[in-house]
């Protein structure tokens, strides 16, 4: 029992499984998720294990599934995720699955290949289409341009030529010939003008052009035009922009050179007939072929889509199945084979309380496999430290996670998580006290809790959201507690509520108020009713602008210290539970008792002084106990510890609050100081004596073991942390010395550390007030009717800032400080956190983090 306060009791068990039944049994255990298997052949590498073949086949199947998934995602087909988890299929079904995946993969690959080939074809045709279309334009324009160079000396011919071009616009052949004719008419120039046409990607074009110019010494003529619409690259589906070019040149030498350059720049050349009629014909042919290709491409896409849609329906299911099979074989690989090869031997950690359910699951597994021999679960004796297993539910899980983030508890150590459920939100709320901000936080938490199922179902990779959602119960509790402390501080968005009516009254008459800038209300007179405001701060402090902070600081500082000391005493008392549980008498007497005495006599005494001060001194009391005589607790405490003689008090006052205070203080300090050597030396000396005794009489077996810290080993020689080598005496002394110094100095610094409760609370209240006066007040201070519109705008601004700065940022900072108070100030008093977590073999967790699980299965 007591599983809430300590981790679960664990047992190391040996499990004998018949070879045929092993698969089914492990599958059942995986569904259960309560067994952590140990690797029995740690020195055998992954490739020499028994079921390596099966694991490899599963890997292959997973690869195929991932390929399918990738293709499905590429097409944007929704995958059906029912969230159900089918049972691990029988080993013989694996072949069916493999065949299915093989078929699917091959089909898909074939379709993809076809599609790629078709697309390449399509690309070529579209490029050709563009070439034909663009060259048409080139031929229309190019001739006059070419002509220009040669006609500079015969402008009248050029003019005539232009005329001709106008007339014979539709017949480029004639133009070319015409030009040829013109050129031929020049003496000594009887050359044929050739050309090549092609397509090149746009970014390569300038370099290409330069290269052509240089290599051919400016003897070629390049024209280019952009293809406006991007073309699809068939290999990777990228959109690429390309340009059409056409190069005119003279002679074969230049032709080879140009072709080589084109090749070098990966430009694709296309045959382009010279005759316009041929070109037109070719264009027609290309168009029809493109259309044909389009229909074929469409059909291929349809086919691919059909295949993928069919696969998408089952994909998640298949993934689960394959991962389960793989996990089972991976687990079977951890087992030992016995000599007869008839059964597998496994070792596993099992929670004692669950042995029954595990045996039931094993029996189910045997029945399913049709085996006659039942599996044997056999408890083993071990000296090893068992793993730490804290049962959690959705509520305690987040709190346990906070504790485990510091360190997983040692086996059967006191678990601070249950106390954290209350202390964490409370200490947070002390720093965050504001009804308004608390309400926002609580509503957010409540919304997440109410919509829990829906929100949990839509898994996201948004890390921040996952953190918020994981801590929804913490957030809700923090919000509710903050509303409570906000009620105590009487703060709602930095304003106070006057619910019960202030217990202070203004007794000044109008003229006094009119003539004085500042007035005091004295608690000694009838200004104060004599009884405090029923709950929390009196709202009168809202208008006491000059000494509100002074008053609140005194109050908040004191309660911070009070809470801190109580929290630390609680931590020390927890260590008592640890010592008694581990039967560590030595630590109980020489650590726990002096620690507690030290803390009580010094710091708890200081807390008592605060209460005495609150109780004894009042403005209405007679002289030695009036408010002006109240001593400062801090000064009193410093004088007490340093044995100073206190300063003489004011006239009519007394130094001490009660009779015999000086004597009590001296005695307390002396006892507390006396505790230090006990902590420092008590345990090591006892151990030394015990060892000497053991050397004389080895049979008594008084092995006094000492772990590193408070509850390390068992004084009575119990099995728990038994069998490591005895530490050197000097090491024990050093450990104890460090531990003692840490505790003594720690209790001083930790007490001071709790002042952060006051500091953050003050900062939060001030920030809230600044936000109100600097933002919302501006909106409210507008005169006239348009102020309403102004208020609307300013309010939205103020609301966003409130959520962003005060709730989110301040909340985060208060959260971190609370976390620190728990990890350092509270847990250092008793918590070792040197255990290791129980990681049961569970299908749920394997499937949840699918990718990583397949990673560590290698």
């Amino acid at each position: 029992m007591g599983s809430l306060f300590r981790s679960e009791e664990m047992a190391l068990c040996q499990l004998f499984l018949q070879s045929e039944a092993a698969y089914a049994c492990v599958s059942e255990l995986g569904e259960l998720g309560l067994v952590q298997f140990r690797d029995l052949n740690p020195d055998v590498n992954a490739f020499q294990r028994k079921f390596v073949n099966e694991v490899r086949r599963c890997d292959e199947m997973e690869r195929k599934l991932r390929y399918l998934e990738k293709e499905i995602k590429k097409d944007g087909i929704p995958m059906l995720d029912t969230g159900e988890s089918p049972e691990a299929p029988q080993p013989r079904e694996m072949i069916d699955l493999e065949a299915t995946f093989e078929k699917l993969e091959n089909e898909l690959r074939e379709v993809n290949q076809n599609a790629e080939a078709l697309k390449r074809n399509f690309l070529e045709l579209t490029e050709l289409k563009h070439i034909l279309r663009k060259t048409q334009v080139f031929f229309d324009e190019s001739v006059p341009a070419v002509y220009k160079s040669s006609t500079s000396h015969s402008s009248n011919k050029y003019r005539r030529y232009l005329q001709m071009a106008d007339n014979q616009n539709e017949d480029e052949q004639a133009q070319l010939l015409g030009e040829e004719g013109v050129r031929a008419s020049q003496p000594g120039q009887n050359l044929k003008l050739g050309f090549v046409a092609g397509v090149i990607s746009r970014e390569k074009l300038p370099a290409f052009e330069r290269m052509l110019w240089r290599a051919c010494r400016g003897n070629v003529f390049l024209r280019q035009a952009m293809i406006e619409s991007p073309l699809e690259d068939p290999t990777n589906g990228d959109q690429v922009y390309k340009s059409v070019f056409i190069i005119f040149f003279q002679g074969d030498q230049l032709k080879t050179r140009v072709k080589k350059i084109c090749e070098g720049f990966r430009a694709t050349l296309y045959p382009c007939p010279e005759a316009p009629a041929d070109r037109r014909e070719m264009a027609m042919g290309v168009m029809t072929r493109i259309e044909d290709l389009n229909t074929v491409l469409g059909q291929t896409q349809d086919h691919r889509h059909r295949v993928l849609v069919a696969a998408a329906k089952n994909l998640k299911n298949w993934f689960v199945k394959v991962r389960k099979i793989k996990a089972i074989y991976h687990t079977l690989n951890l087992f030992n084979l016995d000599v007869t090869q008839k059964c597998l031997i496994a070792e596993c950690w099992v929670p004692l309380l669950d042995i029954e359910t595990i045996q039931l699951a094993l029996r189910r597994g045997t029945e399913r496999s049709g085996s006659s021999v039942p599996p044997i679960l056999n408890r083993m004796q071990t000296f090893e430290n068992p793993p730490t297993y804290n049962r959690t539910n959705k509520f305690t899980k987040a709190f346990q996670a906070l504790i485990d983030a510091y360190g997983v508890a040692s086996y059967r150590e006191m678990n601070p998580a249950p106390y954290t459920i209350i202390t964490f939100p409370f200490l947070f709320a002390v720093m965050f006290g504001d009804i308004g901000h608390g309400a926002i936080m609580a509503l957010f938490g409540l919304w997440m809790i109410r919509k829990e199922k829906g929100l949990a179902a839509q898994k996201t990779d948004n890390e921040i959201w996952n953190i918020f959602f994981g801590g929804r119960y913490i957030i809700f509790l923090m919000g509710v507690f903050s509303m409570y402390t906000g009620l105590i501080y009487n703060d709602i968005f930095s304003k106070s509520l006057n619910i019960f009516g202030s217990h202070w009254h203004v007794s000044y008459n109008k003229s006094t108020v009119w003539n004085n800038k500042m007035l005091q209300l004295s608690p000694a007179t009838s200004d104060y009713e004599g009884t405090p405001y029923p709950f929390g701060m009196d709202p009168i402090w809202q208008v006491a602008t000059s000494n509100k902070i002074v008053f609140q600081n005194a109050y908040k500082m004191k309660i911070s210290i009070i809470f801190g000391v109580l929290h630390m005493i609680f931590g020390v008392v927890m260590s008592w539970h640890n010592h008694t549980y581990f039967r560590n008498r030595l630590s109980l007497i020489y650590e726990f008792i002096p620690q507690l005495v030290f803390l009580l006599l010094l710091f708890f005494y200081m807390v008592l002084l605060m209460f005495i001060k609150w109780n004894r001194y009042a403005a209405t009391n007679k002289m030695p106990y009036t408010e002006s005589c109240a001593p400062s607790i801090l000064i009193t405490f410093i004088d007490m510890v340093l044995f100073n003689t206190p300063k003489t008090p004011a006239q009519g006052c007394e130094v001490y609050m009660f009779w015999g205070q000086h004597f009590i203080q001296v005695v307390f300090v002396l006892i507390a100081l006396g505790c230090i050597p006990v902590m420092l030396l008590g345990k090591p000396i006892k151990i030394m004596q015990a060892r000497k005794l053991a050397n004389v009489q080895p049979i008594t077996g008084a092995d006094a073991e000492v772990g590193g810290m408070s509850n390390g080993g068992g004084g009575g020689g119990h099995g728990g942390a038994g069998h490591h080598d005895e530490e050197e005496m000097s090491e024990i002394f050093i450990h104890q010395g460090i531990h003692t110094i840490e505790y003594v100095l720690g209790s001083v610094s930790h007490t001071a550390s709790y002042l952060r409760l006051w500091a953050l609370s003050l900062a939060h209240a001030q920030l809230a007030e600044v936000l109100w006066t600097m933002v919302l007040s501006i909106g409210l201070n507008k005169e006239g009717w348009y102020g309403g519109v102004f208020v609307t705008v300013v309010f939205a601004f103020w609301a966003i800032l409130t959520v962003g700065i005060l709730v989110l940022m301040e909340g985060l900072s208060a959260f971190l400080h609370t976390l620190r108070l728990h990890w350092v100030e509270f847990q250092s008093k008793f918590y070792l956190g040197q255990g290791y977590a129980f990681q049961p073999f569970s299908f749920d967790s394997i499937i949840e983090n699918g990718g990583s699980a397949s990673g560590d299965a290698e």
Binding site: V543, T773, L780, N781, W785, G788, F795, A799
Partner: protein, 95 residues
């Protein structure tokens, strides 16, 4: 008709609800002349007589109360607007 996206409309929805609740209450507190809110009134630094101060404060309290309620009414409008937007967005995602 869709103007803003799902997040924007949700933000508008939340701020509107918050604004309505808080501004109606603040208007109420201004209306009953709550002393805690005196710093938020459009008052001058100095007044010549007590009565003058009282009349100015009283009218400022009432004015601020009405302003808060006006703002709350505006938030009712934005609430309706963003609710309609939210509805449109949720319908689009549902389809």
């Amino acid at each position: 008709m869709k103007i803003c996206g799902p997040k924007c409309s949700l933000c508008g929805l939340i701020i509107s609800v918050w604004g309505i609740v808080q501004l109606v209450l603040m208007g109420l507190f201004f209306y009953i002349h709550s002393v805690a809110l005196i710093e938020d009134l459009p008052l001058k630094e100095e007044y010549d007589s007590l009565d003058e101060f009282y009349t100015a404060a009283n009218s400022a309290y009432n004015q601020n109360a009405y302003n808060c309620w006006i703002a709350a009414c505006i938030y009712v409008i934005t609430l309706l607007l963003s609710a309609q937007q939210f509805y449109m967005n949720s319908r689009v995602t549902a389809n």
